[in-house]
Amino acid sequence: MSKRYALYPGCLASTEQYAYELSVREVSSFFNIELVNLDDFSCCGEPIKSINQLLTLYLSARNISIAEKSNLDVYAPCAMCHLALSEAAFILDSDNDLRCRVNKVLSSEGLEYHYKHKSRILHTVDVLYDDIGLEKLKNSVRKPLTGLKVAAHYGCHLIRPSEIGRPDNPENPSKIESIIQVTGAEPVYYPERLDCCGAPLLPTRQESALTKTGEKLQALHEGAVDVLVDVCPWCHKMFDEQQVKAKETVAGGFNIPVLYLTQLVGLALGLKHDRLGLDLNQSPVEKVISKVK
């Protein structure tokens, strides 16, 4: 069964966090999912949400309309982009005046945001859990990650605000653990599971941001976890790229491999680690790779 999505990588996954896009493409290709590049995609608007709400709505609506024009669902691997698009759709569906205003601007480009947009807005968790499904994932595993203790980091944008509909439950999400389970690894539950990574604070309060990151990593370290997986390039940036700085900030003792969920799944599917962008991770991922052989 061949599926087609319009891939919406966002600003971070297609640049600094390219490992995510690489692993997404690799895993999608394994399952015969075609990722279509729509050139016209632009920023989702999330970074300027607090400054100009109308502009954010316009930017997100624009991207949804572009995908809809091509009759494609939108696959946004970045949780922040996914929230921006989903929230814009929710707001525009519930406010007729706002929708008209945004459509007036979009009309100059020959675009229109349709009420209750036909294009689905998907995240990696949706694609893995719903579209591909646990059964298929399980049967496709070539290198079961037996004995590997994996902690999930859901992040905030993936599961909140719940009123608009998110890929998983805000109080007790479980889809990532289910996916970890079918790879053969052992999902680990820990009290700090739903804590924020600190990324939104990075531009203005660097020390506070790194404190949040460091405290969570320290808790994981004390819980003897082998790997931390995440599903958002911002979260990954904090835990992976900023891990050393975070360690200094909280005087921690951790050195934890941090992988994208798609990288972990890719390893279990038997895909090559350099095809999954694992050489781009800055945390000690070799510890995991050696365990998979």
């Binding site: 109080e171 007790n172 009290p191 700090e192």
Partner: protein, 657 residues
């Protein structure tokens, strides 16, 4: 030729300010069939009523129109005046020129013109008013009380002491309800059982009270004064006539200490044969047919050990469910409350950690006849807690869950803080995270100040959003708005003060009796200020927490009030049925039964007349709602007092000028 008198009230300035009463009076005088028109400042007063009486006599009136305030206020007053003057009281028509005219218009011209129209319409109806003779209802001088908690017990005792026979139905094997589960009561710290058990005994032994425990109300038919109630007595598989309450069966039971005890909220254990608690009334054992090996699997070892142990031969596995039909005149619903479902408390750790419990569970733990004999130990490791944290308003005052205040939560928490100090000593750290302390009752504020001053009791004004479960304990993060500081409390036991919701029994009663419920789900009172114990159905009263959460003293007051309201009906000579009942014109009726289907009161039945099926309205059950009148496709049903021929002239009267 009708002879109608029109009486217009000034109502002080309420009407007179906006309506030119003089002008309306002169206008009314000129209407056809009006022989006299009068006005007065306060028609509802003695003098005012006197004017009406005089006029009826002097002018030999056979119809009266009163243009005044809403009929809800004084229709009954003017009806009484008519009756005292020898006129049928249903010949009085009220035109509302206050709430529906003077109070809602600012232009004097408009208001006066509208008042004239309203009077004209009332006169049009009054011309065709008929003498109505409402049927008299025979009153069965017995009462049904549904629910055997403190509210039901109080209502039952009050009615029984007045000389009426009361049937008290309780679905659990014993009466006592929630109050029996408490340890001490605030603010006097009376032992709950000590003050309740004498009442329970009184109810059980009262010659006028018929106690039906382990029973449920299946159906209720009829209306005020004459209800037919079907009660299902569940089989207890123990003959209450032979059972002495000795407990030999429970000691012998193969499942002894293996079944979760409902009374202890699952914290304690019992066998399949049990009494809910040692002070149960009646003290008769019951076998749980969901766990008993003999009843579920067909055999219990070689023979049931309870049968072997019982010296009275009281065990009877052949017992069947019994149906009891009762005839009562009034019903009091006293079905109580439940705590919010645990799903609503998930965020605060309930269900995620065994060390997060509710106040009711805490009450069972600290009660010396509870499952741990009064020892408060952490459920996770059975150790004494070094720190206990209370979180108030768990699920209450929350738009997502329960918007209302539970009313008793603050005092319950303070009381439990006191019990901790008294029973567990000074070393246990106690933290209280509250939103407001609502210590509104008599003696409550003094009690609060006392607790607040106790050492090692820390009060935080803030709502924790999360209780974090760590391997060695619990973390509660709370922002204290009074000191403007964020606190991270490391604690061993968290006690949640949960929201209070209507019990399943309350929901069942609402369905069976077709009672209205308020937005919060509790039974709706007829008027929140003036009739808090009446439901919208005459003859059905509501008592205690089924109407809304309240503490024990308010519950008892409420229950006594409901009993008093019920007694008023039971001690009346007769009751009048509503005069405005529906009547079927059997010549026009085709027997289609549409009216039967729409009648909410099951007041319509079918009869055979001339070999054809016809509908017939039972005038004592009919509540005059008018649904059948509207629904009848053949226009074969009319409503007394509101016939089409009476309403049509009112409508044509609208445009006449």
């Amino acid at each position: 030729m009708p002879r109608i008198g029109v009486f217009i009230c000034h109502c002080g300035v309420n009407i007179a300010q906006n309506v030119n009463v003089e002008e309306v009076k002169r206008y009314a005088e000129r209407l056809k069939d009006v022989v006299v028109s009068r006005d007065y400042k306060y028609l509802c007063s003695n003098t005012g009523c006197g004017i009406i009486k005089e006029a009826i006599k002097e002018y030999k009136l056979d119809g009266v129109v009163v243009a005044a305030c809403s009929p809800r206020m004084h229709e009954h007053t003017f009806q009484r005046v008519a009756e005292e003057s020898g006129l049928n009281k249903y010949k009085v028509e009220v035109a509302n020129i206050r709430e529906q005219c003077s109070w809602v218009h600012s232009s004097r011209d408009e208001a006066t013109s509208k008042a004239k129209t309203l009077v004209r319409m009332a006169v049009a109806k009054a011309r065709l008013a008929e003498d109505l003779k409402p049927a008299r209802i025979k009153i069965t001088r017995e009462a049904l009380v549904i629910g055997g908690g403190v509210a039901g017990i109080q209502s039952a005792l009050d009615l029984a002491n007045e000389g009426f026979k009361v049937h008290l139905v309780e679905r659990e094997p014993s009466i006592g309800g929630r109050m029996a589960q408490l340890d001490k009561t605030f603010p006097t710290l009376d032992c709950a059982s000590c003050i309740l058990t004498p009442k329970m005994m009184e109810a059980a032994n009262h010659p006028n009270i018929d106690l039906l425990v382990y029973s449920e109300v299946e159906s209720v038919k009829g209306s005020v004064g004459d209800y037919t109630v079907r009660v299902k007595k569940k089989p207890r598989y123990v003959d209450p006539g032979k059972c002495t309450g000795c407990g030999d069966c429970a000691s012998a039971c193969r499942l002894k200490n293996k079944v979760k005890n409902e009374f202890d909220l699952g914290l304690g254990r019992r066998g399949a044969v049990y009494v809910p608690f040692p002070q149960a009334v009646p003290l008769k054992y019951v076998i749980d047919d969901k766990t008993c090996l003999y009843l579920t699997k067909g055999r219990c070892g070689d023979e049931p050990l309870c049968m072997k142990a019982c010296k009275q031969g009281a065990i009877d596995f052949k017992q069947k469910e019994e149906i009891v039909d009762l005839r009562v005149g009034v019903i009091i619903v006293a079905t109580g409350y439940d705590l919010i479902d645990k799903v609503g408390l998930y965020e605060l750790g309930y269900g995620r950690s065994p060390d997060v419990i509710t106040t009711l569970e805490f009450e069972r733990l600290i009660n010396s006849s509870g499952p741990t004999r009064g020892e408060v130990l952490r459920p996770s490791n059975n150790e004494k807690p070094g720190s206990i944290t209370f979180i108030l308003c768990a699920g209450s005052r929350d738009k997502r869950l329960c918007e209302w205040c539970c009313r008793v939560g603050c005092m319950t928490a303070l009381k439990q803080v006191y019990l901790i100090r008294e029973k567990l000593g000074d070393t246990v750290e106690v933290n209280v995270c509250y939103t407001d302390i609502r210590s509104y009752g008599k003696g409550y504020e003094e009690f609060y100040r006392r607790i607040r001053g106790v050492d090692n009791v820390n009060m935080f004004r803030g709502r924790p959003s999360e209780v974090r479960v760590k391997p060695d304990g619990l973390i509660v993060n709370v922002f204290d708005t009074l000191s403007d500081k964020l606190f991270e409390i490391k604690t061993d036991l968290v006690v949640l003060v949960p929201a209070i919701v209507p019990s399943t029994g309350t929901l069942d009663a609402a369905r069976t009796l077709r009672l209205s419920r308020s937005n919060d789900g509790f039974l709706m009172e007829a008027h929140p200020k003036l009739r808090p114990m009446d439901s919208f159905l005459s003859g059905v009263f509501i008592a205690g927490c089924c109407q809304g959460p309240k503490d024990i003293q308010d519950t008892v007051a409420h229950a006594s009030g409901a009993a008093s309201r019920a007694a008023w009906i039971l001690s009346s000579d007769t009751l009048e049925a509503l005069p405005y009942t529906a009547v079927v014109n059997e010549d026009l009726c085709s027997g289609c039964k549409t009216c039967l289907l729409v009648c909410p009161y099951q007041a319509i039945e079918t009869v055979m007349k001339d070999n054809k099926l016809r509908a017939r309205v039972n005038s004592t059950l009919c509540q005059g709602c008018g649904c059948c009148v509207v629904a009848c496709p053949a226009k074969a049903i009319y409503q007394l007092g509101f016939k089409d021929e009476q309403i049509k002239p009112m409508i044509t009267g609208l445009k006449e000028e």
